[in-house]
Amino acid sequence: MLEIKDLHASVEDKKILNGINLQVNPGEVHAIMGPNGSGKSTLASVIAGKEDFEIKKGNISLDGEDLEELSPEERAHKGIFLSFQYPVEIPGVSVTNFIKTAINESRKARGLEDMPANQMLKLIREKSELLEIDRKFLSRSLNEGFSGGEKKRNEIFQMAMMEPKLAILDETDSGLDIDALRIVANGVNKLRGKDNAIIVITHYQRLLEYIVPDFVHVLHEGKIVKSGPKELALKLEEKGYDWIKQETVV
């Protein structure tokens, strides 16, 4: 589904990604771990199409289609979803209004009519229950005055609403207490299917106890230096990132 080949990317001439190779197939969950500054969030932003980053070499494709020429919204229309590490506030725009606009814009891009209001309401009810979201929450301004946990839960709610082909969860566990983490992970797990894939970017192994990955990749200095099964995450937790750093030096 997603194929990244020898990807090099920089921001303002600072090299951040130095030759990433990654293949994600339908139905798979990949975890990307790594120390601060290793390029995890950059990778997520580059896949989503953030313009601040310049691709110097290599390519990214989704279902065989090169993504480089596509705008962020076109990538979204093709089913790429990014759960932001720091979701932005949009005052005066309710959660409901925002998600309604997002869904209908994507439908429009696919040549579909707006989703009928009753169907939209039903979907909202269903997904908010899944994530144990209070209805009052939905009429609040997007992310304005939300706690860290509420912001993340709202991201996953949007993901549930949009049913993306490829979801990238960027540090979704940061700012979540253990109960919220369980709810969010539970929500994500229910969205796992044979036709979609998830990339989980995380610093800690904790989240991976709840969202169990098929593969774990370790990112260091803009490169995937180690890949393995889920046990790799445990080993990392135990030995720390220094172990990887040392191994790369050798």
Partner: protein, 481 residues
Amino acid sequence: MAYTEEELKKELETKEYEYGFYTDIESDTFPKGLNEDIVIAISKKKEEPEWMTEWRLEAFKVWKEMEEPEWANVTYEKPNFQEISYYSAPNKKPKYDSLDEVDPELLDTFKKLGIPLEEQKKLAGVAVDVVMDSVSVATTFKKTLAEKGIIFCSISEAIQEHPELVKKYIGTVVPQKDNFYAALNSAVFSDGSFCYIPKGVRCPMELSTYFRINQAGTGQFERTLVIADEGSYVSYLEGCTAPSRDENQLHAAVVELIALDNAEIKYSTVQNWFPGDKEGKGGVFNFVTKRGICEKNAKISWTQVETGSAVTWKYPSCVLKGDNSIGEFYSIAVTNNFQQADTGTKMIHLGKNTKSTIISKGISAGQSQNSYRGLVQVNSRAENARNFSQCDSLLMGNRCGAHTFPYIEAKNKTAQIEHEATTSKIGEDQIFYCNQRGIDTEKAIALIVNGFSKEVLNKLPMEFAVEAQKLLEISLEGSVG
């Protein structure tokens, strides 16, 4: 991915002002210039009684001695008042009984504006008094209103048919000598609307007027007078669009509202005069004086959405004369490209327990300058006066400006005055967030701006709110790139 942004920008740059066309109807236009003879001629043309002619001449005398104000935070080339023609009227007999009699070209203009009269007529509860080039050419729903004793007509007609009302109230809220533009308007006003709601009557429909500037080089000087008698209620809608022109057009209107004891007036405006092109060429100068007076327990609420004009100078105000009276001002002012707006309100608290609320939302884009200027004045006898003001500014890009000039004068110790202000910028991260959810940049801006303006949009009557929302989107197209 860079190309879409570029292409979008190009496409939007070439997009012309949506309502940029003008109607070619034979006009009866006065020669350029202003002197006593012209003032008398206007009055004569309108078959006005002598007292009205005298009133105009008094205003003209005052105006001659006045100088254009320069305190506003705007710069422009001052109009040459001798280069303007002060009267222009469609010369075919202006009054029609039915739409069939109306000039087809005029009807076509309305269609382009999206306000075909035939549909307007059908639109539930909206009576339209259309001001086309200074003279009313069609009035509808008069009958329904007449049954309730409501008078809704052009000011010229009111001067002839209801001179006692006009004589009693005109100039009582905005005197002839109030300011330079008000004096000019008082001398040469061509037409406008008049509305009287009798005691205890609740006007059953929203009253609306569509203004248009049409004749090249003709300044438009509208005069509106709304009187809500004791215990009555009226909601008045005013909206305007203007054809695009190369030269600057002057618009200096005066609106006076009178809310007698226990009456309520809601006055909503959507203003979309031609703002000039993207180089800042052309565009309307909008120098307007709007003011209302509230007697005991009365309430006046101004709501405005200002998106047009090259230069705007406008402060819809309330004089809270009666005890327990309430004044409200809700405003959205959008400036793009080279537009300049200096707008706000004055809340003058004279009576006891008077309350005022000011919510101002300024949105600046391009290289425009957007200023809020407001005065909250509490008189020494205004016990327990209260005011709440909120001024929010939203900036787009790095070349525009937002300014806030709040003035507070409290002469009574019991006054409670609150002022809140915020300035924010539409961030690239907000746009990217929306993009990532499949919402393109243009739609994202519309969403963010609508969210920012929501508190004010909510104050508009339903059908107007939808129109206003569209207008915000059109006005800001291409402003981020």
